[in-house]
């Protein structure tokens, strides 16, 4: 008989946040004492448009259970149009991930401004909840690697 450790599932979540809006939003959430789970690891990027789709694939490869990208609201991009391009790119990437069997709920884009600390914390709480309910992610791996 094997004994299974009944540990609570702690998802690994990566959040790409743009420097100008969402990262500042995260800061505000912090200084306003609004909590969000420590499962979220924030990676700061200069603009949501800097998020190469490969970053997201890499995150999943390294074992992320969910990836969220946050940027300035459309129209508010510090570089004027970066987030419009990012929006198309992420839409297509998420659709492809869904196509190969990574449930759509594991990827998300939210627009969070520097003034929206509460929105940042709510978004993260909600996303972590969602990933907890989905459970552990599939491993994107080669069949030959495991027997």
């Amino acid at each position: 008989m094997s004994i299974e450790a009944k540990e609570e599932f702690r998802p690994k979540i990566v959040a790409f946040c743009c420097n100008w809006c969402s990262y500042a939003g995260a800061d505000l959430a912090g200084s306003s004492r609004l909590g969000y789970p420590a499962d979220v690891k924030i990676i700061r990027v200069p603009c949501s448009c800097r998020v190469n789709p490969m970053f997201i694939l890499r995150a999943f490869e390294k074992g992320a259970d969910g990836v969220i990208m946050c940027g300035c609201h459309p129209g508010d991009c510090h570089y004027s149009t970066g987030n419009y391009y990012a929006r198309r790119r992420m839409t297509l990437l998420f659709s492809m991930l869904d196509f190969i069997g990574v449930e759509n709920g594991r990827t998300r884009v939210e627009w969070v401004s520097a003034a929206e600390g509460a929105r940042f914390s709510d978004t993260m709480n909600d996303f972590v909840e969602k990933i907890r309910s989905l459970g552990k992610n599939v491993r994107l791996e080669d069949l030959r690697c495991r027997s």
Partner: protein
């Protein structure tokens, strides 16, 4: 075929072109290969038949750097790729003399083999001049027949049409081959559960040996320095990676050509492992059509590619989950 050779000879003789880019007979009746012909004499090995699936447009990148014009033979679907390369300034229109050749659907030797035909010595009915609906195959076990329709490449069943998008002259007749719904295969996969989809792609992609043939043949993969050749990324080669390697390669590649892929089907044709690579590209094409308006890469040389464009009203990425 003779007509093409004669015309090529004329163009070589009057110095309109310095060389001819076409297909040369291979060792076996079903494996012609892309080749340059620089003399009239060399053209005796020229072939154009049902097995000339190879899309020659990508070779024009190199040919554009050579002295003088190159005569290139393009099938209707190949002209989309050429147009796309023109749009991306990868080929020089001035360096190309394009003869649009007719197409009656190209053949898939694997499908012929799947019908149990082995020991092939000769094939008739694959010539472009005959209107044969049946291939007669001479094998060491006797004569076999296959219906042309049944052994066509998958891509010919969803052909974009037999109209050449760019050419200097046209030679030869075409035959309509479209008899399937372009997105049916993609839709069948979309209808599966995420677990089934995951299992399906895991199984398919695990066959990949990372030979890079799909990348090398792809007319959209024309980057001078490919991310898969750079040792700065761990995506560079088939490492003894423990994970994800293949999916990574295929998603990245499909993403790089999204909005630029003309759906020429070369990737699936050349894959030695028979992986249905076109599914990735077609999935993107389907999404682009639905979300950003119908777009056919290579249709023209002016329009903006979907991923280098945006509108204020574009759908939010959450649409993927919402539409179910």
């Amino acid at each position: 075929m003779q007509e093409l050779i004669n015309r090529a000879k004329e163009l070589l003789a009057d110095n309109t072109v310095a060389r001819v880019l076409g297909w040369r007979a291979g060792d076996l009746p079903y494996d012609p290969e892309p080749a340059y012909f620089e003399t009239e004499d060399a053209l005796k090995d020229f072939v154009y038949n049902g097995f000339c699936g190879a899309n020659l447009s990508k070779y024009m990148i190199e040919a554009s750097k050579l002295e003088g014009k190159t005569l290139v033979f393009l099938k209707p679907c190949d002209t989309y790729s050429f147009n796309q390369l023109l749009k991306e300034h990868r080929v020089d229109r001035e360096k190309a003399y394009i003869i649009g050749v007719g197409c009656k659907g190209k053949l898939d030797i694997e499908k012929i083999r799947k019908q149990g035909v082995k020991g092939i010595r000769g094939i008739s009915g694959a010539e472009m001049t005959d209107d044969a609906d049946v291939l007669t195959i001479d094998t060491i076990y006797g004569e076999k027949t296959c219906a042309y329709q049944d052994v066509m490449l998958g891509r010919c069943h969803v052909c974009k049409g037999k109209e050449h998008k760019v050419y200097d002259e046209l030679i030869g007749e075409s035959r309509e081959t479209t008899d399937a719904e372009r997105f049916a295969e993609v839709e069948a996969i979309e209808a599966m559960s995420p677990q089934e989809r995951f299992a399906y792609f895991k199984k398919e992609l695990s066959k990949c040996i990372r030979c890079n043939a799909c990348r090398n043949v792809c007319p959209a993969c024309s980057c001078r320095k490919c991310v898969f050749d750079s040792n700065k990324f761990d995506s560079s080669q088939k490492a003894n990676a423990d994970s994800f390697e293949e999916k990574m390669f295929h998603i990245i590649r499909a993403f790089h050509v999204a909005g630029r892929c003309t759906d020429c089907g070369e990737c699936s044709r050349v894959c030695p492992q028979g992986i249905p690579l076109h599914l990735f590209n077609r999935k993107f094409i389907k999404e682009i059509d639905q979300l950003y308006g119908e777009y056919q890469a290579g249709e023209d040389t002016e329009s903006k590619a979907p991923l280098t464009d945006y509108t204020f009203e574009d759908a939010e990425p959450s649409i993927i989950g919402e539409r179910g």
